[in-house]
């Protein structure tokens, strides 16, 4: 075997292992591995830069800027407080409403942003209700990943898939929303049943909740209207980009620039709030995967998978779905999806099979599989971090006991959905 081939695989695997063991920060090690790929001549710099999907990066950066400005208006807290009041102080109703809001927010925002906005308000509401916050927090984790799976912009794997394959915002909604909706409803219903004894109604709590004035959550009315306007324009842009052929990054970055133009004089602070460590992580991964592609390793892997599934669409799709779910439950889904995209493209070019079901299987497996463990997705880690600091530590096994069955049910629903809709 060729020296570069072996070198590329060693660098890639070593990087992966170090990312999993968390010995170094994932961004640092991805950048290090990527620069080794270029430095050692596995891929030249020009190819490496071509391998970076700037559409994905632009979309992420644009949305991060928009949210960093819009969140200061208090609009997200307003919605949650309003829901608590709408639920009339009934813990079960409020549980269902908050879970629904998490799903909707995370379909439109990044999952971590969603939980960072929702956990504080959830704690405030449960303190008022005098109920244990843990069921609410577990629902927040599960629904953030389920909601995120339903749109192009809801979860980074979807952004990557949409960008690489040319699937539009509406493609994602039409194909993924029906199944994520069913999973979301099933999840909330089962959780509400499991925790039914904890949702004790309390008249004092109801009085406290009914005294809420949601308007107090709005800290800046002008900013609120401007943010809503820009979010509206961005959403409209996404809904129509199938026909306008505008790329996601164009829409998100335009929205970011527009909101900056309308609200900010000195952009330094807002641009600093972009999660550059995540962006650089993506850059590193794209280059690492390009290295593997360049030496033909992914092509070889694709061949092995086809051999295993004998080129059968049904079995290939199911392998992708379940493998993605199991893998994403244990490790970060971003590097996994970055690797799988060119690999699935290779499967398509070798066999000529219709890749559509495979893309949806990859997205669903990677997004929802992350629910199974407390370290399966960044949102899970963030929620358990805040919960721990507030004295509601969510234990690893404690979480597994709820999350593994819930995730398994979700994946069974996905299996049925994909089979009936695309493979029958």
């Amino acid at each position: 075997m060729d020296k570069l081939f072996i070198l590329a695989i060693i660098i890639f695997l070593a990087t992966y292992v170090i990312i999993i063991t968390e010995k170094y920060h994932r961004t640092i090690i991805a950048m290090f591995g990527a620069s080794l790929m270029v430095l050692l001549g596995i891929v030249n710099q020009e190819r490496a830069i071509e391998g970076v999907d700037f559409n994905t990066l632009g979309l992420l950066i644009g949305m991060m800027v928009i949210v960093s400005i819009a969140k200061d208006s208090g609009m997200f807290q307003y919605v949650a407080i309003k829901a608590a009041k709408f639920g009339q102080g009934d813990p079960k109703k409020i549980f269902i409403l908050l879970a629904g809001i998490v799903a909707v927010f995370s379909a439109l925002l990044d999952n971590v942003t969603t939980v960072l906005l929702m956990v504080p308000v959830t704690l405030v509401v449960t303190n008022n209700l005098k109920v244990r916050p843990k069921p609410f927090l577990i629902a927040t984790i599960l629904l953030s990943n389920i909601g995120g799976a339903s749109t192009l912009i809801g979860d980074p794997p979807n952004i990557m898939i949409g960008s690489a394959v040319g699937l539009s915002f509406n493609d994602f909604i039409v194909n993924l929303f029906p199944v994520t909706f069913i999973i979301g409803v099933a999840t909330v219903a089962i959780l509400a049943f499991i925790y039914r004894k904890e949702f004790v109604f309390n008249q004092d709590a109801k009085d406290a909740i009914m005294k809420f004035k949601p308007n107090e959550a709005i800290t800046n009315k002008k900013l609120l209207w401007k943010s809503l306007l820009v979010l509206g324009i961005v959403l409209l842009g996404f809904f129509t980009h199938g026909s306008t052929h505008l790329e996601g990054a164009t829409i998100a970055l335009f929205g970011a620039a527009l909101l900056l133009l309308m609200t900010v004089h000195e952009p330094e602070h807002n641009l600093r709030e972009v999660e550059w460590t995540t962006i650089f992580f993506f850059v590193g991964l794209f280059i690492l995967v390009t290295g593997l592609e360049e030496v033909g390793a992914l092509h070889m892997m694709a061949g092995k998978i086809i051999e295993m599934t004998q080129g059968n669409v049904v079995s290939t799709t199911m392998v992708v779905l379940w493998f993605s779910a199991i893998f994403s439950a244990i490790v970060d889904n971003i590097p996994f999806v970055a690797t799988m995209i060119p690999l699935i493209k290779d499967i398509g070019s070798i066999t000529g099979m219709d890749l559509t079901p495979l893309w949806w299987a990859l997205a669903l497996g990677a997004d929802i599989g992350g629910n199974a463990t407390i370290v399966g997705a960044s949102a899970n880690v963030v929620v358990s971090g805040i919960a721990g600091r507030e004295g509601h530590k969510i234990g690893f096994v404690e979480y597994l006991k709820i999350a593994v069955p819930m995730t398994t049910i979700a994946m069974v629903i996905c299996t049925g959905y994909i089979y009936v809709r695309y493979l029958m």
Binding site: V119, P120, L123, V124, F212
Partner: protein, 157 residues
């Protein structure tokens, strides 16, 4: 007579009676000692009188506020009223070392007053612990002490 030739050293103006806490003292003990001493700041020292940190009323108050409210201030008006008491009871046994300010500016008792004045004004702090050559706490100097020294120079007292 104007005292312009006199050397103004910290040890001449510092207070030698310092309110101290041990890093193992609890949140409750810290509150009690501060209330008794009617002070808003205490120096945290180990058993050898070496400085481990400084504890101000701000540190105590900030620790009482849960992180999630600190991050999302507009939620404060919705928080349940009993969270204040609940939180105080929750943290009452936690050691001072968990919420004290660990990086402490100090000055040496043989330093000039200008040194203390510079540190006080640059970091906008109210009082500065004073240590001897072995880094042991021997006193503290505050803004009033500096003013007293200026008063002496200008012969105002």
């Amino acid at each position: 007579m104007i005292a312009q030739n006199k050397e103004h050293l910290i040890n001449k103006y510092m207070q030698t009676k310092v309110n101290t806490l041990s890093p193992d003292d609890t949140f409750a003990e810290a509150i009690k000692k501060m209330l008794e001493a009617k002070t808003n700041g205490m120096v945290v020292v180990n058993k050898d009188f070496k400085i481990e940190g400084i504890l101000s009323s701000w540190d105590l108050i900030q620790y009482l506020v849960p992180d999630y409210l600190e991050e999302d201030k507009h939620l404060a008006s919705f928080e349940s009223a009993d969270v204040f008491a609940k939180r105080a009871l929750e943290i009452k046994d936690e050691p001072v070392s968990k919420f004290m300010t660990k990086s402490v500016h100090t000055c040496n008792s043989s330093d000039s007053l200008m040194e203390a004045a510079i540190i006080l004004s640059e970091f906008k702090i109210r009082q500065l612990p004073v240590v001897d050559e072995n880094n042991k706490l021997v006193g503290y100097i505050n803004r009033t002490d500096i003013k007293r020294a200026i008063g002496d120079v200008l012969n105002l007292q």
